[in-house]
């Protein structure tokens, strides 16, 4: 995956946001899809972008915010250049996912659900990525790693650090 420039964008972001709004015909009903595309672009939802969406769709900021905070797909804070997702689905859980998560927290130095201060990495848990037969599963930058062991976590952490 393309590494995002971690610097925080500024301004009204109209240049980026407006084409996305137009792609969906500025349809209020497509708010979730619009936010998804914005999230894909910045890997989070900058406040300025939400304000632009609110104004352009004539949807109250409160509703935009409600949707942006309801769904797991959205993050209101910038995410790291690398994203490590630990699957916490049932199949992975019974095969030891909690111990894998704990070790990732220790070795990456970030708590689950948080991003390192230097924006190098985000650690988050997900409820099943649909590769349950391979549990425990970790997704490193969109790449599914199956049968993860505590020993294999060392290699994953090295990859993130390199």
């Amino acid at each position: 995956m393309e590494a995002m420039n971690p610097t925080t964008p500024s301004g009204c972001l109209c240049e980026d946001v407006d084409p996305i709004l137009d792609r969906y015909g500025r349809d209020q009903g497509l708010l979730v899809s619009i936010l998804q595309d914005i999230q894909e672009k910045y890997r989070y939802l900058p406040k300025e972008a939400l304000e632009r969406v609110s104004a352009a769709l004539d949807v109250p900021m409160a509703q935009v915010y409600a949707v942006a905070t309801f769904f797991k797909a959205f993050s209101l804070k910038p995410r790291g250049r690398h994203v490590v997702q630990v699957c916490m689905g049932t199949a992975c859980h019974v095969r030891g996912a909690p111990l894998i998560r704990d070790k990732l927290e220790r070795d990456l130095g970030v708590k689950n659900g948080e991003t390192a201060a230097d924006l190098s990495v985000t650690l988050e848990s997900v409820n099943c990525v649909g590769a349950c037969a391979l549990g425990p599963v970790v997704v490193l930058d969109d790449e599914v790693q199956g049968h993860v062991t505590l020993t294999k976590v060392d290699a994953l952490v090295k990859k993130v650090r390199s």
Partner: protein, 636 residues
């Protein structure tokens, strides 16, 4: 990407012009051509491209095989097909040599050359890549002889290994879209609904509602402006289940064909697939499939000259479990927060945008073409009295053969887990199987002979759910599993109904306390008292079924709960606060393997002498337990 038969290249039509197939006769002609070109290729290599195999590196394997094929100058005679999931994910990456159907497992790129030259070309069977029966160690060359497949009945899933999901012509060649022709040209809409009713098909998304009945209600419901919708629920929120994604990734047109037939029967004007965001590959496959279906004339205006017009769009989910629920799903499709609403007005009357809407699960839709093509009587002959047909399960957890299986309804849990699944990993003891996800429950050993069917699973306090089957052994703590589901449900409750939001949280806090060794015997009774209140006071299925995991766990594993409360012990060795790590001096061979991985450096010892673990500094990370080959690390 367009087809391989040269149909498009003929210049008859282009992707943006009129559709390629404009009548049933066109389709039959096209099918002959596609079948001829499909069959012209007798010999080919099929590489499983399912998500499981991708996680195991199948793309590199496919690339390596293609490279060898090219180097050997075999491109024209030996195609390589990247197909959908074959199901046996545990053994991936999987490669099958056609037409002999030699089944190779755990293939790596270094095997590419011998697979091409020795196996596919020279016909040799490569013993070392075959599946070996765990008991007899006998090598089994053919897929159908492997125990994992032998008891299965792969009706919906069957063509996954034979078609390229990105090529509609494969699907057509093997009879695809003929059920649609039958429905459009020789059946009245009401006849189709009647046929689905008679088949006994029940929704595969969890609830098991009779599909034909839902269709009939939708058909009757009036719409103020004539707009009516069908939706495919591909949210697949049940953690531990992945059959819907594999169907879309492996055979998307079977879902699309089912939706078009349903839309015609119910008079729908538009369709949507609501798909989970965690599934990028499914999204891509579906997008391609919808585009091809449009190009070939199965979607759009005047489908196959029948006068019926219909198209399907995609809606990406926002990642919330509750959005799998019908009213929350539709709210989220309208750009709102995904909160369920009361259902005194059914969604078949007022659903998406307050118009009549029929929501069915991916697997439900994929069953429809089978029923129309082969008839309700045939379908109703499979399964039990009230559960017809087959069901796809994701058999996962502590079982030997994990993967996706399709079995006739009525098969017993024992057959599934011990014959298809090959028993418990590392010869350990079976403890429970969890079905129905966060709405279901755990089923103990004493009920292993239970036939798998909607009603029987509900009777024992669990449910069919969407098809997750998570197998647990004696190292799985049933209190921890209950805590896990309560945690999941607390996070996923939308917060609208107080009994669900606060009640589930309270139960979770109690169970967490028990896991810490601070439980009281009165806690169990308190949980059992709260459960019906939570269920009765919640609007949607999430809250109504939220107590199931914890209640079944207490019902069937009370001793284990009591051990946590009374003895402050976790017999399975999972709950961190109740266990200590130590080293068994008799079993320890002094191999030093555990010394280095310990982040606390609290294991000491010399080579060939039993090691010692200083429990006072141990953080219970499990590193030593994982690396010990002699079961000498104790977790008690």
């Amino acid at each position: 990407m367009t087809g391989t038969s040269g149909w498009v290249a003929d210049g008859r039509t282009g992707p943006t012009g009129t559709p390629l197939i404009r009548s049933p006769r066109d389709l039959e002609e096209a099918r002959k051509r596609f079948l001829a070109s499909y069959q012209a290729v007798q010999k080919y290599i099929s590489v499983c491209g399912g998500t499981g195999c991708r996680g195991g590196g199948c793309l590199a394997v496919a690339q390596a095989i293609r490279d060898v094929v090219r180097e050997e100058g075999l491109e024209q005679t030996l195609p390589v097909r990247l197909t959908g999931c074959h199901g046996f994910c545990e053994r991936g990456p999987i490669v099958v040599i056609y037409p002999q159907k030699i089944f190779y497992q755990q293939v790596k790129p270094i095997h590419a050359r011998k697979i091409v030259t020795r196996s596919a070309v020279a016909g040799e069977v490569l013993e070392d890549l075959l599946y070996k029966a765990p008991d007899t160690k006998e090598a089994i060359p053919h897929e159908e002889d492997i125990p994992f497949y032998r008891k299965q009945m792969r009706l919906v899933f069957g063509r996954n290994g034979a078609i390229d999901p990105e090529n509609i012509e494969d699907y057509i060649a093997l009879g695809g879209y003929s059920a649609l022709v039958k429905a459009l040209f020789s059946m009245q809409p009401d006849e189709i609904i009647e046929e689905v009713k008679r088949s006994g098909l029940r929704g595969r998304g969890g609830g098991g509602f009779p599909t034909g009945r839902k269709w009939a209600s939708m058909k009757k419901a009036p719409s103020p402006d004539g707009r009516r919708f069908v939706i495919c629920n591909a949210d697949e929120g049940d953690p531990g289940a992945f059959m819907d994604r594999s169907l879309i990734e492996g055979n998307p047109h079977s879902v699309i064909e089912g939706m078009i037939i349903g839309a015609y029967a119910m008079g729908a004007t538009a369709g949507y697939v609501y798909i989970r965001r965690e599934y990028p590959l499914a999204l891509q496959t579906l997008t391609t499939a919808l585009r091809q279906a449009r190009e070939y004339g199965f979607l759009g205006q005047d489908i196959l000259g029948s006068g019926f017009s219909f198209d399907i769009g995609i809606n990406r989910g926002g990642g919330a479990f509750v959005c799998g629920e019908s009213t929350a799903l539709m709210a989220s499709m309208e750009g709102k927060v995904g909160e369920p609403r009361p259902k005194y007005v059914h969604t078949v009357e007022k659903g998406l945008w307050d118009r009549p809407t029929c929501l069915n699960n991916v697997e439900t839709w994929a069953n429809v073409p089978l029923i129309i093509a082969r008839g309700a009587d045939w379908y109703a002959g499979i399964g039990t009295d009230k559960s017809k047909g087959t069901k796809i399960f994701s058999l996962v957890g502590k079982v030997n053969n994990t993967g996706l299986i399709e079995v006739p309804m009525g098969i017993t849990l024992r057959e599934v887990i011990f014959e298809i699944g090959g028993g418990i990993q590392k010869g350990r003891r079976f403890k429970a199987v969890q079905t129905g996800g966060p709405s279901g429950g755990v089923i103990p050993e004493s009920l292993l002979d239970l036939p798998v069917d909607f009603d029987r699973l509900t009777e024992v306090g669990s449910m069919m759910g969407s098809g997750g089957m998570i197998v647990m052994d004696d190292r799985t703590c049933m209190v921890d599993v209950a805590r896990y589901f309560l945690q999941f449900l607390t996070e996923e409750s939308c917060g609208k109904c107080v009994p669900c939001r606060e009640g589930v949280r309270r139960v979770k806090e109690i169970v967490e306390r028990i896991c810490r060794g601070e439980g009281r015997m009165s806690d169990l009774r308190l949980i059992e008292e709260m459960a019906p209140e939570i269920a009765d006071g919640s609007l949607c299925g999430l809250g109504q079924s939220a107590p199931n995991p914890v209640i079944t766990s207490i019902r069937y594993f009370r001793e284990e709960w009591e051990a946590h409360v009374r003895d402050r012990k976790c017999p399975a060795g999972v709950c961190k606060d109740l266990i200590t790590y130590s080293i068994d001096p008799v079993k320890c061979t002094g191999c030093m393997a555990c010394v280095k991985p310990c982040p606390q450096q609290c294991i000491t010892g010399e080579r060939k002498k039993p090691h010692v673990l200083d429990a006072s500094r141990c953080i219970k990370c499990g590193a030593c337990y994982e690396v010990c080959k002699y079961d000498a690390v104790l977790r008690q």
